[in-house]
Symmetry: C2
């Protein structure tokens, strides 16, 4: 069941991204051919979702190399350093960004004996490979995760951890897609996910495109639905998982996890290993991005809050590992994740 | 510190209501001179908030009596029965509506020996009295509740339980107003309260009008702020409290209560005795209103969800008494409310 859209696509020597700010009303692809352009696209949330940000960053490096492949080796190295820096400064929380940049940097260093055009070509190959691998990993995660769901299940998800948040298939929604492919009946409840409304705009649209049953709810209704027995499992994605299993994900995830715990509903986090940051000991050390007040004051041009009102808009929160029933990774399911089990994933 | 606006006002023989659907952009008063008109205003949420709905219903009866005061006693009784029925059918969850109608009905029955115009005049007096009493009760609750707050405190509230939800002063926000009048420093965090955005539109505006410090947040951010130590207390209102202390209030309240409990933050419910329904044993028996999908699909005319998406929109939830640190009533504070303590309030 391949998705009917592409989050990222390579066309005419540039990377095109489906503009997620204007979904679902319009399906517009925007084209980028420089690191600065891609960094801006990540910052402005034209593309979002930890794995998709990683893939975009990879292409950001590749298009930059292509753009300046006429430069001398010395000029090229200076330009590329600035490009890496611009991409790294785009968003702070999702670790896949830094993971992808590190991978591209390692590749670039290994190419130092080659001429600049050859290096540029190899970096593009690397970005393509990273994207293909992302889909492969998501499918592997999907199979592992699908086994956790009952034959008939009603699954709550928060934000969008779907094909739109990855190179394809999705992490949390990938598990749902794989479960359906395996013949299970899955109905999804999508939290609308204020303030950016990834659930209402992206998850609802993406599942509708693939004809997967989805019911949209206000974030406030999740606990009530759990209390009335309407939810069998929660599956979310992650922006960064600490070495101890604490999970940074879209703001509101922590509340969903606490409510699931109260109602003894399993709470699953679907995350590729590239989302696990073993360099960060605990969730409280993960940097939490704050975004503009504008997102909370209204929606797009429309304001509903009174002028001059103060706003705090943290866009991620941290769910302690104790609330996570299992991490679903491409290497398998990690029940009750902790430092030891996570370290074992990387050994 | 009287508020700079009036939720309800009597003018030119009709009841005027501040149209809460268009706040904060516009301050428009709409005038109603029939029970059907007032019932429509309650249903359409021109006026909302349990105590304000009660006051509005009282005036609904009064304007209806006034409108048909030329009728014969028999005609009058038939008309009034229909008027009571229309008002009772307007919204199902807030019990103040039924409480107020019962009070007006009792008054009307006691007037059966009088002529119709005299009955109409007495019903108007009763509605006026109910409104005045509401403000008095709120001030009494405010004094009781204010004593619970530290000298400096950061208080989270959900939805709007302010002057706009009552005849004046407010229940939850009344406690905050009274604390400030008593010289305490209170800063408010207002949950935006999707889907109808009473927090972003009404609480933010109302507190700003009275120059009370307020910071608006997405509902999803409440748990994160608690986890980082930014909240000292939660105060909310109630739409109906069961005999055992379970609290029906705006959707999302339950999640806030669970999060407060997890973080050992006191969770207070400010409610006049008219909000306590001793005829309902437990919260799960309280009828929960579902409203139109439209509220979740977007905001006013603007749609952000894809067309054809399913929605569930329950607009209240139930917080178990075990999560309520105290009820704040006009008769005093009821710590750890239960059936016995609540029964004692009415004895």
């Amino acid at each position: 069941m391949p998705s009917t859209f592409q989050t990222l696509r390579w066309r005419d020597g540039a990377i095109e991204m489906l503009d997620q700010r204007v979904l679902p009303e319009r399906q517009v692809y925007l084209s980028f051919d420089s690191a600065a352009g891609v960094a801006g696209a990540i910052k402005d949330m034209i593309i979002r979702g930890a794995p998709a940000i990683g893939c975009a960053a990879g292409y950001g490096v590749a298009v930059e190399a292509r753009r300046v492949s006429h430069q001398s080796p010395t000029e090229f190295e200076t330009t590329m350093s600035a490009g890496f820096a611009a991409l790294a400064a785009s968003r702070p929380t999702a670790v896949n960004l830094f993971w992808a940049l590190e991978r591209m940097k390692t590749r670039l260093h290994a190419l130092s004996s080659q001429n600049v055009p050859a290096r540029a070509a190899a970096l593009l190959d690397e970005a393509h490979a990273m994207c293909r691998e992302d889909v492969t990993l998501n499918r592997r995660m999907g199979v592992h995760g699908a086994a956790l769901l009952p034959e008939r299940s009603r699954v709550l998800t928060h934000c969008n951890a779907g094909a739109l948040a990855t190179a394809g298939h999705g992490t949390a929604l990938g598990v749902i897609r794989s479960a359906i492919e395996a013949g299970k009946q899955v109905a999804v409840y999508a939290d609308e996910t204020r303030p950016f409304l990834q659930g209402a705009r992206l998850t609802a649209w993406e599942l509708q495109q693939d004809q997967i049953p989805v019911t949209l709810i206000a974030d406030n209704a999740a606990g009530f639905l759990m209390s009335r027995g309407h939810i069998d499992a929660v599956i979310v994605g992650a922006d960064r998982v600490a070495a101890n299993g604490d999970v940074a994900n879209k703001i509101g995830t922590y509340q969903v996890a606490v409510m699931a715990h109260r109602h003894k509903i399993p709470f699953y986090v679907a995350c590729p290993l590239s989302t696990i940051d073993v360099a960060i000991a605990r969730g409280e050390d993960i940097p939490i991005e704050e975004r503009a007040a504008e997102e909370v004051l209204g929606y797009r041009g429309m304001r509903w809050a009174p002028p001059g009102i103060d706003v705090i808009n943290p866009v991620f929160d941290v769910t302690p590992a104790q609330l996570v029933t299992a991490l679903i990774t491409e290497k398998g399911v990690v029940l009750a994740p902790d430092r030891e089990k996570i370290a074992a994933l990387f050994s």
